[in-house]
Amino acid sequence: MNLNKSLISLLIAAAVSPALAHDIVPGAKQTAPVLLTDATIHTATKGVLENADLLMVDGKIAAMGVDLAAPEGAKVVSLQGKHLYPGLIALANQLGLIEIEAVRATDDTSEVTDTNPDIRARIAYNADSEVIPTVRSNGFSYSLVYPKGRALMGQSSLMQLDAWTWQDATVTDAVGLHINWPSTSTVANWWNHKKPEEMAKENAKALQKLKDYFVQAKAYADAEAAGLNKGVDSRWQAMIPVFKGQRPLFVHADDLRQIKQAMELAKQYQLKLVIVGGRDSWRMANELAAANVAVVFTAPYGIPERDDEANNTAFQTPALLQKAGVKFALSLDGYWDTRNVVFGAGQAISYGLTREQALAAVTINAAQIAGVADKIGSLEVGKAATVVVSDGDIFDYLTHKVSAMWIDGREVTLNDRNKQLHHKYSQKPAI
């Protein structure tokens, strides 16, 4: 088998650096301007610029255009024939919170109790996770990590993926509150033959419980505003910014009925709502668009969850959301498989998205949903110099070759545990 060129170049790089992931050194702060030249620049907001240059200064994009002049002392990198994209953003996953799923000691995703609005994901983010570099290697520069759990799961944090600690990885500490919406399905599973009425009763009970938490939290917020609280309730205190509309409420919900219920709750308390999951979002795309509810669609490869649904229902969902004007991003809501989100976006192209729309779903839309669109998510002057280079179309397996990445102007090492093991065992002598 032939090794491709980027891999060979990587192997050369690996040969000079020690072959352990925790020795992959985060990129150093940008000290000199970097001019990337002659690339096909996919800006994500301003179309595609052919044979264009992009200048990075002090961690920001300083200029973009054709035939930019290299400033004094600038490093010039030719990207002739290559594609330049904003560093990709993966929303809603557990990257850095789990190392090995089956080993409990390495899993910091789920807290006990129903009410954890006061926990923040970033605390457990392991900047040295072996998984993170493998996700970076496929073009991802940011990830929104959230705690899993029962009802009020906790707050997500937006992390950049090349860091020494969770502190310098943090882009935004508390992005939004994530809640797991109670089930609305009345279908019992294979080993539990409960009748629809019983299921519906249980569902209603769980919904009421969740609503009660909001009543309590709102009571606390109102009393707090009036100066009447007699102490701090850490849980409800954390929800005040959500009630004030300063942070969105991320509702993890797939079923149409869940989404409807969540929209009612958001309307009642005037909350900024984002749906995470969204398997049925296409069924009410117009309503979501009208109410400005964004969707983090986590099933770009989804297999139908209902008997009678078409095989391609999930594949077509991004295009249907796009058509209705729903703001959406793509995710796989896992950890190691986050590296495949880019191909999920690629598949969505074959089911009706344009390349630009697919790119937006893993860049600018995601930045908007995470509340950081003023800083990242597109290639625009003044924004963070977070860019990724692919030798070809980044969305297709046949052309995807991520050969360089900068985050805030820092050049990122694209080595990872997978490549290191490959390198090591390529050298095993024949028996």
């Binding site: 089956a102 080993v103 080993w191 409807k260 590296r339 969305f395 297709d396 046949l398």
Partner: protein, 1033 residues
Amino acid sequence: MNSFRLSVLSAAMVLSIAPVAADQTRPLQGIRDKTPNLLAFVNATVHTEPGKKIDNATVLVEDGRITAVSTAAAPAGYRRIDASGHHIYAGFIDAYSGYGVEKAPEAKAFSFGDDPVYQNERKGGNASNAAIHAERQWAHDFVPVADDAKGYTEQGFTVVQSARQDGIFRGQAVVASLGKGLPGELILKAEGAHFMAFDKGSSKQSYPSSLMGSIALIRQTLSDANWYRDAYGKQDTLISQQPVEFNAALAALAKLPQAGLVFETTDDRAVLRVDSLLKEFNLQNAVLLGSGFEYSRVNEIKNTGRSFIMPVAYPEAPAVASIDDQLDVNLAQLRHWERAPANLAAMANAGIPFALTTHALEKKDQFWPNLRKAVSHGLAADKALAALTTVPAAMLGLPEQLGKVAPGYQADLVIAKGDLFKDGEIVATWIRGQEHQFKPLQQPQFAGLYNLNLQGQALKLELTGEGSKLEGKLINGDKNVALKNLSQNDNKLQFTADLTEAAAGSGVLQVSATLDGALLSAQLLLPSGSRQQQMLSKESVPAKASDNKADSDTQLLSKVTYPNRAFGLDAPLTRKNVHIKNATVWTSDKAGKLENTDVIVKDGKFSAIGQNLSTPSGYQVIDATGMHLTAGIIDEHSHIAIEMGVNEGSDAVTSEVQIGDVLDPDDINIYRGLAGGTTTAQLLHGSANPIGGQAQIIQLRWGVTPEGLKFKDAPPSIKFALGENVKQANWGEAFTSRYPQTRIGVETIIRDAFQAAKEYKAAWAAYDNLSRSEKKVTAPPRKDYRLQTLVEILDKQRFVHTHSYVASEILMLIDLADEVGFKVHTFTHILEGYKVADEMKKHGASASTFADWWAYKMEVQDAIPSNTCLMADRGVLVSVNSDSPDLQRRLNQEAAKSVKYCGMSQEEALKMVTINPAIQLNIQDKVGSVTEGKQADFVLWNANPLSVYAQAQQTWIDGVPYYDINRDAQLQQQVLAEKQQLMQKVLGASDAARKGSGGTHKTNEPIWHCEDNGDWLKARFSGGQHLHSHAAL
């Protein structure tokens, strides 16, 4: 005869007289009872047997037996029972019952993480598995229970075949009369059929934990019964070196062919499964308990040639009242709700013999409304009657005693007012001359229009109906009021009427009347308190309102498709000869990738591949310009289309279980796989044990039978597993006792199993070499399916695919295989294969791996997505598999990942999902490449098949177009339209039609994974148990 009569009488008098309790073997205490039992039922319409009827007939009964049926007058000396206006049928027989036998203790419902139980406590000669109760003869435990009997007799049943419905081998049923009396006298046949099922019931033993395990246990046990018959008592043995154990269960089963059996099925697939299992043992004397799903595979079921005992329980209508909750409703359930009442008609029309049972009904009184519903859906009344009488009588081997109203037959008579199959009502059931009356035979006829004079006002009293349905009104000119407080007792009637409402006075009129012929002798109590006596004469009898409104419910809107669910096909697909023009053909053979190439498919084979071929006449032409044609995708590792458990995860070695026994051709994942271009898959047992079950290679033919899925003549294979799963590392705290718990133990147990197989083979060889006279005194070795399978591996007739991850265990198995003398054919998963690729190559093993999975458990921490390239570079044959119905829809993309991660050439990458897995499955001479002469399994793609942008447009197997993206779009619309129609029907149906009566819907299998352990058998059946909890016994 005397004592028989005595028992009849004693029962009839409900044992209220102390001295008459007597039996045939105990001396009588007190005075003998010599009351005669001479009965004459006169003026009846007698249905002597299905299709034969005598009007105005007389039936004579003497001492519990019918002596004459004729139109002659009743002789003197007989008790005369006037049955005018009544129909008499032979007593009904329920051949599937638990009557009179104590129920098994409630089985603990399934829950995850239950403690495993590996052994059954041995007592006397019980079986080694706790789900086997074959030695039980339920006649020994039979006790009549009056309350339970009433549930049956009210519906006209007089005889049952009964056993405890618990376990796989449930023991031998008793045939008993539902009359009253001593148990021994009620038993008509002590050695009835053996009851059987796949459900292990109350057994706590872990084995079997899957349907395939249950089937394997039945197979081993039936084989053991034959062995026991030949071996027990012989002193010379070849394996155990000790005499054959006493085993009552096996001794009982040795007589199974004579006793016969009744096997419980839960759906149409189970019927086919039971049939082929019984055929393996040439068991013809068998009847199947049906499920109500037979209509969906009626031809295949007809072809089994089996007879059935059919419940008439119907499923509840899916809940469609809430618009949003309609999301939870699926087409298959809507169809089944509509079709269930038409099932019996479909079976009868197909010529499938069946009897009827009350089994599965929530309440026994649902029997007649449901059966009439079946009749209104096209079941002939004669067929229904036969299914209650002559057919079950023959099944029980008592056709000369039961099932007819004829001289010599048992005097079991059902007396119904009206035709029972239209709107008749059972008023009495006589069992062996004992009366069980529920309603008076002759109701006083109050109905009529009477003149009533109330203080000078001429009013009319109108009475309609009879018995409990009697009602009436008081009429004053154009005003009328309904009668209230109406009650009737024999020929006495009472009611009140509101005179104010009738404008005939003020206050309430009270009436008490006695019917005497056509005259009503009435006593009136006026509101004032004054009393009057009047004789009211009947002026006329109002015409009965016709109930004959057309039953539009019997018009069926639903389709029956192949399979019968959404995306099923209207008819099975057939082969086509086709000329595909101008495609880019990826041959996956030496010819490489061919541009602008034509492919001609003839009789299911690629007959020509070349440029500008001419179209043979009669061939369909597909213009594939701009399209890519590849061989059908082949998946080395899949768990789709498997029913009730992918693991027999109880014992550490389960090589006796067969995935091929539990194929589910109705699994929607077959269709979804086709939509992704997959045509062939190896269905592997899971990874719960070092030596797992036998695999089954299938072709994804949508709409066929379980047998039709099998890849014809594919060499057999088996799953082994190593590492975390088999040492139960992630199973929870209850699972720390089974050997092995370490990788060290895994090696040892595999070695020991093969050693046992070698000794087993040697024992058989020694036995086969004995002379005829030596064989006479020597117990033959016991056929052991578990070891037999390992012998096949040693004999190179079965290929090993082993679940494996880390380098150490890969090397271990290679060394062990070399030592023991077998070959590891394919390492599957093999995520660290790149570390020991040379060693694998040297052993001759191939590798089938995931494209990029890692990090999900400890043993995949070193997995890398360039594993494919590194192994291939060292000469190992590599494929990429799915192990998931999701990935099976895009194995082309999974293969493409090797282009991305390690620069594999596109053609080589495609081979990882076509010819390479074909070689691993030993079917490369038939499929895996687009080569002249090979089977026409191919996919048409709209783009380079390795591109993320490619979608399968058509998927063909053996020249049959199983998937077409345009047909799929049509099917999507048809599914929506049919569902809408059926939901409309549910919404318009009566509450009664919506409410179920104990019938079930099919539930989907979960998506099975390698590591799915658990007692799936228990989960399925115990989960469903509460559905039947209201059924009497």
